[in-house]
């Protein structure tokens, strides 16, 4: 009986891990994409998602739209938020010769602006429309597919669709190839007539859009609050660093590893030691991030696996 309960719990954990890693994969792939183009870690990336947690809440509760339909406006909102950051802040700063530290500070400033917007919308939805906007979730608004919550099917599917379409876009379309050229060697790409600015702006739009889609789905799975952006950011950074920060597919892998490590790690530790371990969940991505930086600073993609196998085996 007890054994069966354990197995049941493990299956539930596994389901949670699949959902969380799928969402994290999309977030870290977006962060990595903008890091590859603009060479700056975007500290406002978590807010692109959180902004859409509240846009989604308004859509679902006020207009009775399905959260899955909400993915379309969420992609646009997230994309535009990211595009504004690039065009109005980062691009002018780069043109003035700002270095990456100044760019990072600018993303923190933008993070503050978005955080304020998020809190203002949370307050507004709460005071004017009487919705619960702090520590809420929308699990009841999910559909049921094959006896499972819809997100369990949709999230991995989305992550898979995202990685294939990014692959096709970057390798099989003319603009995608131009974008890779702009990432590899901006000056040379400019010489052959590639519009670098357009390529970079596109990468920011895609990055923000992916985060937006994650944001609208998040309340279906976890408890949301205006300040979850920074919690997400720890996981996103950990996943992206593990993936090497210079490889989108690495970021997908990193997202999967961090997602599973966080959910399964917290789950099994709380079964073994008691529920008090649950709040310490962000320690797991932090430790993985630190270990990566110490032992493999270029991430999983940078490790010479053949040498590693030879040494270990």
């Amino acid at each position: 009986m007890l054994r069966q309960g354990r197995i049941g719990l493990s299956l539930l954990l596994l389901r949670d891990a699949v959902i969380f890693s799928s969402l994290l994969m999309m977030l870290s792939a977006g962060l990595t994409l903008t890091y590859m183009t603009t060479k700056v870690p975007n500290f406002a990336h978590g807010d692109f998602a959180t902004l859409n947690v509240y846009a989604g809440l308004a859509l679902v509760r006020l207009l009775n739209v399905s959260p899955y339909l909400g993915m379309i406006p969420a992609f646009l909102i997230g994309g535009v938020a990211a595009l504004v950051l690039y065009l109005a802040v980062l691009k002018p700063l780069t043109d003035r010769g700002a270095n990456y530290v100044i760019l990072m500070i600018a993303t923190i400033a933008y993070d503050m602006i978005l955080l304020s917007l998020i809190n203002i919308s949370a307050d507004y939805l709460n005071r004017v429309h009487k919705l619960i906007t702090r520590l809420f979730q929308l699990r009841d608004f999910d559909v049921e597919l094959l006896g499972q919550p819809g997100l369990f099917v949709v999230a991995p599917f989305l992550a898979f669709a995202m990685i294939t379409s990014l692959y096709i876009f970057l390798n099989r379309t003319k603009f995608g190839v131009a974008m890779r050229a702009a990432i590899e060697n901006p000056s040379l790409a400019e010489v052959v007539g590639i519009n670098i600015n357009l390529a970079y702006a596109t990468s920011w739009f895609i990055s923000g859009g992916l985060a937006g889609v994650v944001g609208v789905l998040m309340p279906l799975y976890m408890t949301c609050n205006p300040d979850i952006g920074v919690r997400l950011l720890i996981s996103i950074f950990a996943a992206s660093i593990l993936g090497g920060l210079s490889n989108i597919y690495g970021a997908f892998l990193g997202g999967a590893v961090i997602g599973f490590a966080e959910v399964l790690g917290t789950g099994y530790l709380s079964m073994a030691l008691g529920p008090w371990v649950v709040p310490y969940r962000p320690v797991i991505p932090l430790i993985i991030m630190m270990l990566t930086l110490i032992f493999a600073p270029k991430g999983l993609a940078g490790v010479d696996w053949k040498r590693f196998v030879r040494r270990v085996g």
Partner: protein, 355 residues
């Protein structure tokens, strides 16, 4: 004799100014002089405060023979009031307790700085920035949940080293202590910035490769800078705890203790201690004025006005970065040696050549 109201207002303002000036000067040492983007400033500030919440209170309770049946956290109020009674009549022990706590907080901050710098210091600054931000958040999570540290989410009250001053003049003496520490830090950092070490830090910041070529151990210098910067910021956190006579993890967040110091340093002018101080002064004064007029807005908008203020701060910082990146008080060129010293060096070299 009661202190008149305008003076209390001024005391509050100066207290806040001192606390933030210490943090912004420490950030200026890290970012302005050494070019380290410390996006986890909160880590050291909270670390200093957590140390003061966790250690000195227990130690002094033990030394003053508070019955061991009383637990520092579960019987927090009783223990602290017993200790406070003893401290009220003993200025010397009170002062020793204060100084030892500040020193301990600085050591705790230094240790945190070392740990935080370990994984990312050899890599480009953005890796360090990401780890520092993550560590600061995790420290806050630990402070909020791990009860043996500072009593978990309830926080903890700590013995008050200003109890012997008493009543009306407590806030004045706290303010003077904080301003004294601020002045001491300012003098120390000015000396550092004018010393060979200060010039080396600027060299590392501006031209890392050249500094390496000239044999400077860049990584060691960065670690040292973070250790000193974190120790200084931790003192500010400790002073804040003594001001409120309590410690709670919820008092620390990345808006107040990371973002604001960045605004102060960049508005005032990075690479210039006076700039950091002026930035803190302007910032604290402006915020006080905004708080003063806030009630007018509070009635007409359906959200907390504080967010409007944070949004304006974010916008202001972006505008400063775009249109006045050097800040109000730009960094001045490093002072070289006096003319006499240079002539002496030249003549010594000539003599060597002749030999």
């Amino acid at each position: 004799m009661p202190i008149p109201l305008p003076i209390t207002f001024l005391i509050d303002l100066l207290t806040l100014f001192g606390l933030f000036a210490i943090i912004s000067m420490s950030l200026n040492l890290e970012f302005g002089y050494a070019g380290i983007p410390n996006f986890g400033k909160m880590l050291a500030v909270a670390g200093g405060a957590f140390f003061v919440g966790a250690v000195p209170g227990r130690v002094i309770a033990y030394m003053l023979d508070v019955p061991t049946s009383l637990d520092f956290f579960r019987n927090n109020l009783e223990v602290v009031s017993l200790v406070n009674q003893a401290l009220a009549s003993n200025p010397i022990i009170s002062t020793l307790y204060l100084l030892a706590s500040l020193a301990g907080a600085a050591l705790a901050g230094a240790a945190l700085g070392y740990i935080a710098s370990y994984p990312g210091i050899r890599l480009r600054g953005d890796y360090l920035a990401m780890t520092l931000l993550a560590m600061a958040e995790v420290l806050r999570v630990i402070g909020d949940n791990w009860e043996p540290l500072i009593g978990g989410s309830l926080g903890v009250r700590i013995p008050d080293p200003f109890r012997w001053v008493g009543g009306e003049y407590r806030s004045l003496s706290v303010a003077l202590t904080i301003l004294g520490v601020t002045a001491a830090m300012f003098v120390y950092l000015e000396l550092v910035s004018k010393s060979p070490l200060g010039r080396t830090l600027k060299a590392v910041r501006d031209e890392e490769l050249s500094a390496r070529v000239y044999g400077k151990d860049v990584d060691r210098l960065r670690v040292k800078t973070l250790i000193v910067g974190c120790a200084i910021a931790a003192v500010s956190g400790a002073l804040y705890s003594f001001l409120t006579a309590s410690v709670s993890a919820r008092d620390f967040n990345r808006v107040t203790h990371t973002f604001w110091p960045w605004v102060m340093v960049l508005v005032g002018g990075a690479g210039n201690n006076l700039g950091a101080v002026v930035g803190a002064g302007i910032f604290v004064t402006l915020r006080r004025l905004i708080t003063f007029y806030k009630s007018y807005f509070e009635a007409i908008v359906p959200f907390d006005v504080v967010w409007l203020e944070y949004m304006l701060l974010g916008l202001a910082l972006i505008l400063v970065l775009l249109y006045r990146p050097e800040g109000l008080l730009p960094e001045r060129p490093t002072r070289t040696l006096k003319r006499g010293d240079i002539l002496r060096v030249i003549s010594r070299m000539k003599r060597k050549e002749e030999n």
